[in-house]
């Protein structure tokens, strides 16, 4: 029974308790259900803080490992294998941190079928945390694929007018990639005799030409999730139609599952293929950065603008990861967190204005600064953070990534960093354009005059995010410290393996 009390099992499965409680609450007791869900997610966050306390940043290896034989018959070697290291701890924290915030944001936005909503939301949390913690490919796949189901319902039931289309598109698109990964997982399981990622890495016995195929199969799943250009077309639909809390989690955490997958599986298990394909991934990443930024600028719908900006920001993350050096990968991981915070905050803000006006068309607004000063200031901070203004979190991540890409031996060309830097400028263009459209100028629409500023609950949802924006921007070293040891080890192992694998 020891494994049940392991912090990692607890942090993953604690929401299950909340689900069970909610199941037995009458569906009319909406407030009770909301509180139970919120408390569950807060306790889960508490457990993740406990994990952080137990975590030793100086240790580059996996910690708090649980390894229980699960399905071991006829050559199957499947274990309940979980562990945490510098690459995953921040993402786990991000997930457990964003979940209560998202639940709080639904307090008045979700009035229908609250019971189901909260159940699906907590189910989603289990899936996401499980993805970041599981180290057995079979277990990982279960969590990975399982996240589709609650998200599908969140978009499909509580989404906008075109929600069914968006939900199905989201499901099928993501599943298409996952299935190719499933075959690669099977192949690995058969040829390596185990599904355990650390063991496969330790064996290091995958020939380079096969690594290439396996890399591509895993990349199919992750690239769709990230999403990398040109596989991004599900994202605007899903984001625009999803309810606010869904968008926050989708942008904040689900997309990170893709980038995390590249980091944990592609880079670690297929080092020589990673080195070989890095320039190609970087090309796609840079295209994504610039394309995402340009398309963002063309949007009239604020939510769509933020959605496309994700394509651009995640391009930075991918560029950093595939620079395959310390700065690049560290910047990439930090940028995942930054994007989760900033874009999550932007979606929350968009959700607040949508709740008031039931439109997200930029032309419908203008001069809101005068009507909603608190809202305006917070939006400004978040916008600047997303743009990468020095002193705020976005800058730290993007700058580190650009440094990494610039000095990368693998990419071996300054052009990637140079072109990506254009993306930073473009981000300033579209974000400031949005800000100006919404907040500056005169209040020229009658409906906007009587808009209420943020209420206490809304401010409570935003404050933690704003604190983190400043914290990471001004003093990022605690965050880098957490990942440093693991990333250093990863980079070294890739270099060793790639040397050995390539002629």
């Amino acid at each position: 029974m020891d494994f049940l009390l392991n912090p990692l099992t607890l942090v993953t499965f604690f929401p299950l308790l909340g689900i069970l409680v909610i199941l037995f609450i009458n569906r009319e007791n909406k407030t009770v259900i909301r509180w139970v869900a919120l408390l569950t997610s807060l306790i889960t966050f508490g457990i993740s803080i406990w994990v952080l306390v137990l975590f030793n940043p100086a240790d580059p290896d996996l910690q708090m490992v649980i390894d229980i034989p699960w399905i071991q018959v006829a050559g199957w070697e499947i274990s309940y294998l979980m562990g945490i290291d510098g690459m995953s701890i921040l993402l786990v924290l991000l997930t457990t941190f964003l979940t209560p915030i998202s639940i709080l944001s639904t307090w008045t936005a979700v009035e229908e079928r609250v019971k189901e909503f909260m159940i699906f939301f907590l189910m989603l949390e289990i899936g996401m945390v499980g993805v970041f913690l599981s180290l057995d490919l079979f277990l990982f796949y279960i969590f990975w694929e399982f996240t589709l189901v609650p998200m599908y319902f969140l978009i499909g039931i509580w989404g906008g007018p075109n929600r069914v289309y968006a939900a199905v598109k989201f499901f099928l698109y993501t599943m298409a990639g996952s299935l190719l990964m499933l075959l690669a997982i099977l192949w690995l399981g058969i040829s390596q005799g185990t599904f355990s990622v650390p063991e496969i890495i330790a064996n290091g016995a995958i020939p380079a030409n096969i690594q290439l195929w396996l890399f591509l199969a895993f990349a199919a799943a992750f690239a769709i999730k990230v999403p990398m250009w040109p596989l991004h077309s599900w994202l605007p639909d899903a984001h625009v139609e999803a309810p606010t809390a869904g968008s926050v989690i989708l942008a904040g955490v689900l997309l990170k599952m893709g980038t995390y997958g590249f980091l944990r599986f592609n880079l670690s298990m297929f080092p020589s293929a990673s080195v070989q394909l890095a320039p190609w991934i970087a090309v796609l990443a840079v295209i994504g950065i610039i394309y995402g930024a340009m398309v963002s600028y063309a949007q009239k719908d604020v939510k769509k603008l933020v959605a496309y900006s994700s394509v651009s920001h995640l391009g930075f993350v991918m560029l950093g990861l595939f620079a395959i050096n310390l700065q690049g990968i560290e910047g990439g991981i930090l940028q995942m967190i930054n994007h989760g915070i900033s874009t999550g905050a932007l979606f929350l803000l968009v959700g607040m204005i949508y709740e008031r006006r039931h439109t997200r068309d930029m032309d419908a607004f203008g001069g809101l600064w005068k009507v909603m000063p608190v809202y305006a200031v917070l939006t400004l901070i978040v916008t600047l953070s997303s743009m990468g203004l020095p002193g705020l979190n976005g800058f730290v991540g993007e700058f580190t990534i650009l440094l990494g890409a610039f000095g990368s031996d693998v990419l071996n060309s300054p052009w990637f960093a140079a072109l990506a830097a254009i993306g930073v400028i473009l981000a300033a263009v579209y974000l400031l354009y949005m800000f100006q459209k919404l907040f500056l100028g005169e209040v020229d629409k009658e409906e906007n005059r009587k808009l209420l500023d943020m209420n206490a609950r809304e401010i409570v949802t935003m404050v933690p995010l704003i604190i983190l924006i400043f914290w990471i921007g001004l003093y990022p070293s605690p965050f880098f410290n957490l990942m440093e040891a693991s990333v250093t080890k990863l980079v070294e192992s890739i270099q060793v393996a790639a040397m050995a694998g390539l002629p």
């Binding site: 399905i71 071991q72 018959v73 006829a74 079979f138 189901v149 499909g156 939900a167």
Partner: protein, 485 residues
């Protein structure tokens, strides 16, 4: 054979003897049960199946042959026996109230069901071509009648006559194949045929022709493309509880025979038949899934989905000639048969709950709003649909995972790719049911019956619990596989 020999042999196959005898006696007993008390017949039939199941469980570990090697009692036959008996029990649970509601409550229903089950059990034990033919007829003929049980409803009668004509045709293929194999080898026993092949006395060309004809006959039974034409009409026209049973039972029988025949006797023909099975599996998965997309009627949709599922199981048999992975090939097929049975019954239990007289309540649009009004029923249907698609953590996922594993292990990566891509296609139509239930408004009406609800709940919970704790099932399937071959 003396009387003593006969009784010794009958005891060796005790579960089968019980089911046949019980069915015969029940036929007589039923005459004395008044028309409005047919629940007794149902209960008696269920008790008979439970007793047989108990004796079958008692045979764990037995590995013997009966009737001079014509029947084989081993882990494989025990696995399938328990599977069909379990399916029979669920079928009784689904049927009783449904038949009353449709005004077709007649005692012979349960007797026919038991006869059909005895045919499936016989098939699981068959080690001789003659017995295989006998078993096929024994399982099919009651099914033909059951398909037309809702007479005088024309679509039920149409379904029965279609099933009968095409089924008889398929049996013809099979029996002709058996005759040719006898000509090619001089034997009808599976092991004797193998011996004749090994010692070179068999005419391999003729043997291949015979095997091809048998494959045609059995592909009919399991509804594999291109021998699937009957499936949608028969599934739609037959009473739903019969369809639910038929979908599982006929597949179990067909695949049991395919596995026994091809793996025991025809390993030498693997070079010729692997590409054929490859083609059948690929075509079945593609056609079943693609055509299911355009179905509006839930019974037709499930019919095409069952065709597709047959393709997935067929996929496991493609590497049947590779001795070293034989355990995985059979075990994955067996496991998927169980998974298929569980998710199939869950879906049909919900269909039966929503079905109304005159074939109403069967359109997908009749499911609109189910999620709001009947959350438990909708949840069970959702889990079943996700399980069919192969989404974790359901039994369907574990089943598919193991199937794909056997295929990849056998070196047929492209077939596995076709398999996963068609799974993706299937997600589209399975999810559509979910869309109707949760994302559209409607006023569905449900007929409540405790037994149907119990069946739905048990299979619904089973899909998830067995999906997570699949080890015992996997173990059992694997033991069954290696004990037999």
């Amino acid at each position: 054979m003396t009387l003593g020999d006969l009784s010794a042999n009958l005891i060796k196959v005790l579960p089968l003897s019980i089911v046949i005898l019980w069915a015969c006696v029940l036929l007589l007993v039923d005459l004395f049960i008044p028309k409005d008390r047919k629940a007794w017949t149902a209960v008696l039939a269920a008790v008979g199946m439970l007793v047989a199941m108990g004796f079958s469980l008692a045979q764990t570990g037995v590995n013997t042959e009966a009737f001079g090697g014509m029947l084989e009692v081993d882990g494989f036959s025990q696995f399938l026996t328990i599977l069909v008996l379990g399916s029979g029990l669920v079928a009784v649970m689904l049927s009783y109230d449904y038949l009353t509601r449709l005004g077709i409550q007649r005692g012979e229903f349960y007797v026919l069901l038991m006869f059909s089950i005895s045919g499936m059990m016989l098939m699981a034990m068959a080690a001789d071509f003659i017995v295989i033919f006998l078993a096929l007829e024994l399982l099919s003929i009651p099914l033909y009648i059951l398909a037309g049980f809702a007479r005088p409803r024309t679509d039920s009668e149409e379904s029965a006559i279609k099933y009968f004509l095409l089924g008889a045709f398929a049996s013809g293929f099979l029996v002709y194949g058996v005759a040719i194999i006898f000509g090619a080898t001089g034997y009808t026993g599976l092991t004797e045929v193998l011996m004749a092949v090994d010692n070179g006395s068999a005419n391999l060309g003729l043997l291949a022709v015979g095997a091809a004809l048998i494959l045609v006959g059995l592909s009919f039974k399991v509804a594999a493309v291109p021998f699937h034409m009957w499936t949608p009409d028969v599934y739609q026209g037959a009473p739903s509880s019969v369809t639910a049973f038929m979908a599982v039972g006929a597949k179990v029988g067909g695949f049991a025979a395919l596995m026994r025949i091809f793996i025991t006797a025809l390993g030498a023909l693997a070079i010729d038949f692997t590409p054929v099975l490859w083609g059948i599996a690929a075509l079945t998965m593609i056609l079943g899934n693609v055509v299911a997309i355009s179905q509006k009627n839930i019974k037709r949709m499930l019919a095409y989905s069952s065709i597709a599922q047959a393709g997935y199981i067929m996929m496991a048999l493609v590497p049947y000639g590779q001795k070293e992975i034989m355990g995985d090939v059979i075990a994955s097929a067996l496991l998927y048969l169980i998974a298929y049975a569980v998710m199939n019954f869950a879906a049909w239990a919900v269909v039966i709950s929503l079905e109304k007289a005159e074939g109403k309540g069967l359109e997908l649009s009749d499911y609109a709003g189910l999620g709001k009004k009947y959350p438990v029923l909708a949840a069970i249907m959702t889990v079943s649909m996700l399980s069919f698609t192969g989404i974790p953590p359901t039994l369907g996922f574990v089943g598919k995972f193991y199937l794909f594993r056997s295929v990849v292990e056998g070196g047929f990566v492209w077939l596995a790719i076709i398999g996963v891509l068609t799974s993706l296609v299937s997600a589209y139509y399975y999810l559509r049911v979910v869309i109707y239930m949760y994302m559209q408004d409607g006023e569905p009406t449900v007929h409540k019956d405790n037994w149907v609800y119990i069946a739905a709940a048990v299979t619904g919970v089973g899909m998830i619990v067995l999906g997570i704790f699949s080890l015992p099932l996997l173990n059992w399937a694997y033991q069954a596989a290696i004990s037999a071959f």
